[in-house]
Each structure stands twice: as structure tokens, then as C-alpha cells.
Subunit: 290 residues, 2 copies
Amino acid sequence: MRDLDREETYLVDRRGLALELRDLVGTGPVPPAPYPGPHGVLAYGEGWFAARLLSLPEWVEEGTLFLLEGGYDLGEAAAMGLMAETGRAKVVRVGFREGAEVYLAPSPLSPYRYLRFLLLATGEEEALREVDEALLRERRRLTPEVPLEENPAKFLAYTLLERLPLFFSPFFRPLEEAAQSLFARIGKSLSLTPPFSALEFFLTGLEARHEQGDPLAAVLLGGGEAASLAKEILETRVDALAEVPAPEGSRLAQAVALWYRLAWTAYYLALLYGVDPSDQEVLDRLREVS
Amino acid sequence: MRDLDREETYLVDRRGLALELRDLVGTGPVPPAPYPGPHGVLAYGEGWFAARLLSLPEWVEEGTLFLLEGGYDLGEAAAMGLMAETGRAKVVRVGFREGAEVYLAPSPLSPYRYLRFLLLATGEEEALREVDEALLRERRRLTPEVPLEENPAKFLAYTLLERLPLFFSPFFRPLEEAAQSLFARIGKSLSLTPPFSALEFFLTGLEARHEQGDPLAAVLLGGGEAASLAKEILETRVDALAEVPAPEGSRLAQAVALWYRLAWTAYYLALLYGVDPSDQEVLDRLREVS
């Protein structure tokens, strides 16, 4: 098994995603000034998670409507653009698609940058400061030079190795899909998310195939009563179970800090599988056809 | 391997879910009269899919707010109830929780019944007629007496046997989670859904573990350009790929007809695994603690 505390393990990180991860805080475009409110946001692809983190409406009659275009999803882009343009609100297009007023390059770490842009653009500097502080606190324990026994992201990566992760985050459900995306794009790995009735799914979905198939590793994100019940249900049904409590801070800072922890975990998992954690060229090709 | 065209295979269906499936159309509570508009809906558990199928707002200032309580989700119920009661709209509680004005017993097939109630309660009889006709057309090909070679649900169940289904439904994404729920609750089986950036997930998530783990079976629901691109991407990456085009009809009828097809498929899959497709008692216990 590859050793995350040895330098040669990091040779597969050919384009230095570790540096982008380490230096993430404070990166991304900055709006010239706050945009007039009320604010709305429509988003897809890499912008999706940022839009879910803030509780902005998807539509405003006046003020500013941010259109976060960070994806390849067919048709959705055009439809959202058209919808945005029909209103009286100023439309600000952010992302990597043609016609973007604010350019944001594709990256698996862009969700942070969309969030940062939105917080600055809506005058929420204080909320951003809390998020950034939470990420900087996380970072102290997560970088490659922190050895396994003090590094929760390395530790979690070993737990998930050769297993199928199952993410459950009752305190903020969109984090599950964000985790699934990180593990695919950085970790090059498959993972599972439960449907809306998660506890029922845990009780029923693991019966017929109980004795076969991939060993599952449940990852309970953020704690709470539903996470405790899920733990009780899953304990006897999965191969491994990891609890990742949220750090101190606002609900927003907690969710982003957990996302950042998972990004590092996906990074270490890629190394353990011996694959490059950066984007493959095939993603550029998808972007071209869509 | 068990044979879906032989009677003894059906002995594990001890509580007769096949009958409930066959006779589904037209069941469920009927509102005394349409409720005053505008209409809104808040829903969780078994009511979730019905709420997603109709594009009703989650909040109305006046008129009627339907609160579909078909689940065990902790806290969510109480929070939604409180939120609903703060407005001036009439609140109509539908479901199996205490205090429901309209009772709807728990069942994996209840999503149809919540939908039917909502359509009748909002004066959408014509839309309901289209849905019911689509389901009755589907039924002709899906019941146990229709042999394998003419029965697409039986056929799909054999394709998914001993594989991990991966559902993708670009024309109506909530169908994926509804399918995942059906396969867990009826089929007692695990299945996968992609995150918001599904095509990117297909391109990247199957790399590191390409040669190991469960054989995946992709199920593309409903067709369209994104489904075609997904097919191109997945063809070389999964063990089996099934395309399930939507039948003729309104978008609503198409989505419900596909859901019905998947309910039958989950039923046949349970039989192939030799497990009872009906609810286990453990679900009652979950309902009691939550």
C-alpha cells in the first residue's frame, strides 16, 4: 500500500493540485464593488454548491441576478441565461463560458471561489471572513507535511481505500453531492449518496446484497440526531463507518470546512490509488461538445 | 437463477405487493372539493416525489398550503409544520403522521397517491387523466402474467441482477432519487445516482476503480441529448447499459409512467433475489422513534 507520509507517493500529482488546495483561501475573482440588491442566483456545474450554500432566491424582479456558469450541462446553461435575461434585474454572468463578465477558470476547487465572489458581491464580508478562518484552521491539519496520525484527511482516505464511500450529511444535504463530485473529479472514484428518505434507504437498501458486492464505508458528516440514528442503522450494515463532526463556526463555515476536508481526502485517495488528482483532458473535450 | 415466468417465484411476495402495484391507478384519498388557490406544497418522505412532479411553490401567502407528511425524517416534519402554520394560507396536512387531516397509509407506492390527491385538490383532473392513462397503458406490459419477452420490467430486472444500478434521468432529475428509493424499499437493493454535474461524474468517477468492485449497470431514463452523451461516455465504462425511453404523453405522465415501470422492475428484482418486496417491520420501528 502506498504511504502518504513518503514523498514519492506525491509524484503522481504532476500538476501540483496540493498547492492549489493549500493556497485556496483568498483566490478567485473579486467584484469591483457590491452589486445592488436584492440578489438572486442561478447556478450549475461548479457554481451549484455555492448557490446552495447561500439561501438566495433563484429569481429577483430587480437588483442583481448572478448566473454562475461553471459546467458542461447541456441546454441548462442556455435556458438559465434566457430566463435571467427576461427580467429587469442586472444579470452578472460568472464562470468559464463564452460571454462571462467575470471569468472563473474550471477547477474542482472552484466552488469556494464562486462562494467567495458571491459573498463579496453581496456585501457579506463578515461571513466570508468566518469561512476563511475555518478553512485556515482546517488547513493546519490537512497538508501533506502533517503526518498521518495528526492528519484527519489522510486517515479518512485510508479508511475509504478499496471501499465504496456512502456520504450522509443531514445538517446540510447538498454537501453529499458536493462530496460525490469531489471524489469523482479529484479521487477518480465512485461514491454513493442516499435519496431524500435517507434513513429508510439505509434500513432497506442493503438487504438483498448484504453478503456481496463492494465493501461500503459510510461517512457521516456534521453530526446531529439523524446522523446518530444513521450510525445505529449502518453500524451493522457497512464495512467501515467514519464520523466527521463539523468544526466550530457558522453553519456556512461548517459546511465549507467539511467540503475542504473532503477535497483533501479525495486528493489523498487519488494518491493511494496512484492516479493524478488533477483534471483529465477528457473534461476539456466534454466542455467543447457541450 | 429464479424464473419470473414461473409461479413459485412469486411465493416470496407474501403480502401481495403485486396486487397493490397492479391496482394502483385510482387509489388513495380524494379531496371533498378543490381547495382555494393559490396552492403551495411542502413535502418530505413519500410525499417528496409528488411535490417535485408539480411545480407548485413551497410557500403561498393565501390560498392553500399542502403539507405532505409521508416520512420519518427527524425534525423536518415539525419544522415544516411550524413554518406552514405561520402564514395566512389554509394548511392541509396529508400523510400518516398524527394530526393529518387526510390520512394516507405508508406504502412504497404512495408517491402516486400523493400526486393524485394534489391534482384533484388543485382542480387538475385533466392532467390526472393523462397520468392514469399512461399508467394503464404501461400496466398491460408489466404484470406477472406477461412473459419475459414482452415484459420490459422483467427484462430490466434481469439486466440489473447482481449489478449495481446507476440511474440517470436528464429530462427529470428527481426521478433518479425516486428510483433509488423504490429499489431500496421494494427491491431491497443498493443503487447509485449521479450528482448535479452528472456527465463529468461519469467521465471521472469510474477511473481508479475501473477494474474492481461491483459491475455497474447504467439505466438511462427518458432520452434526450444528455442521455445520448451519457450513453457514449458510459458504454465503455459499465458492465451493462439499459435505455428506458419515456412513453408518449405529457412530461408529467412520462415521469410517472417511468416511475411505475421502475416500481415493477424493483418488484421483480426482489423476487430474483428471493426477498419479500413488501415493507419490513423495521420501517414501523423507525417511524415510532422519529
